[in-house]
């Protein structure tokens, strides 16, 4: 028996999250976020002073729907670090305030 094929959205998302150390799925772009929550996520990442990739889900319906089931998370933005789902903007804010996000990013730099 061969494995059931992954949906193409899952395969594409998997490629994105594993191919980028830090990637944010968001509405809009870092320069022009289209939603307050995405804007907040970008502000946090910019404050960390790290390089990150971003995916504008408004330009890609397949990923916009697919990312919700991929992460089992109903909203955008969604942050992935080192291939792992970190959370949405509320969790990013909590982790930033606790210094945990800084540690995570630091760990990434050392590992790389």
């Amino acid at each position: 028996m061969s494995e059931l094929p992954q949906s193409s959205a899952d395969a594409r998302i998997s490629e994105i999250v594993n191919g980028n150390d830090i990637v944010l799925f968001m509405k809009g772009t870092p320069l022009f976020p289209q939603c307050g929550f995405s804007s907040r996520a970008i502000a946090i990442l910019d404050h960390l002073g790290v390089e990150y990739a971003s995916v504008d889900v408004l330009q890609d319906m397949e990923i916009r729907q697919g990312i919700k089931s991929y992460s089992d998370w109903p909203t955008i933005p969604q942050l992935y670090i080192g291939g792992e789902f970190v959370g949405g903007s509320d969790i990013m804010m909590e982790m930033f305030e606790a210094g945990e996000l800084q540690q995570m990013v630091q760990g990434l730099k050392q590992a790389g």
């Binding site: 929550f37 998370w73 109903p74 959370g87 509320d90």
Partner: protein, 77 residues
């Protein structure tokens, strides 16, 4: 699209009966809320898992009917 705060609270309490739920209507428009949920069910769970419990309680309304819900979770002290 708006959803009354009482309904959000009731949905969360149905899934997490011990939960202490504080809801703030951020914009006064019945559409932008902040919820702080304290429940023993969160003990030992990651933040993502804690939020997933609340989102499941809201049964698919999150991201649809409920656009803007800022969420924070905690274990009772």
């Amino acid at each position: 699209m708006a959803m009354p705060a009482e309904q959000i609270e009731a949905l969360i309490r149905t899934a997490l009966p011990d939960a202490d739920v504080t809801i703030t209507d951020l914009a006064g428009d019945g559409d932008h809320y902040a919820a702080h949920v304290v429940s023993a069910a969160f003990a030992g769970k990651s933040r993502v898992a804690q939020h997933q419990l609340v989102y499941r309680a809201l049964g698919g309304r999150m991201g649809g009917e409920l656009h803007a819900l800022q969420l924070t979770t905690a274990v009772p002290t």
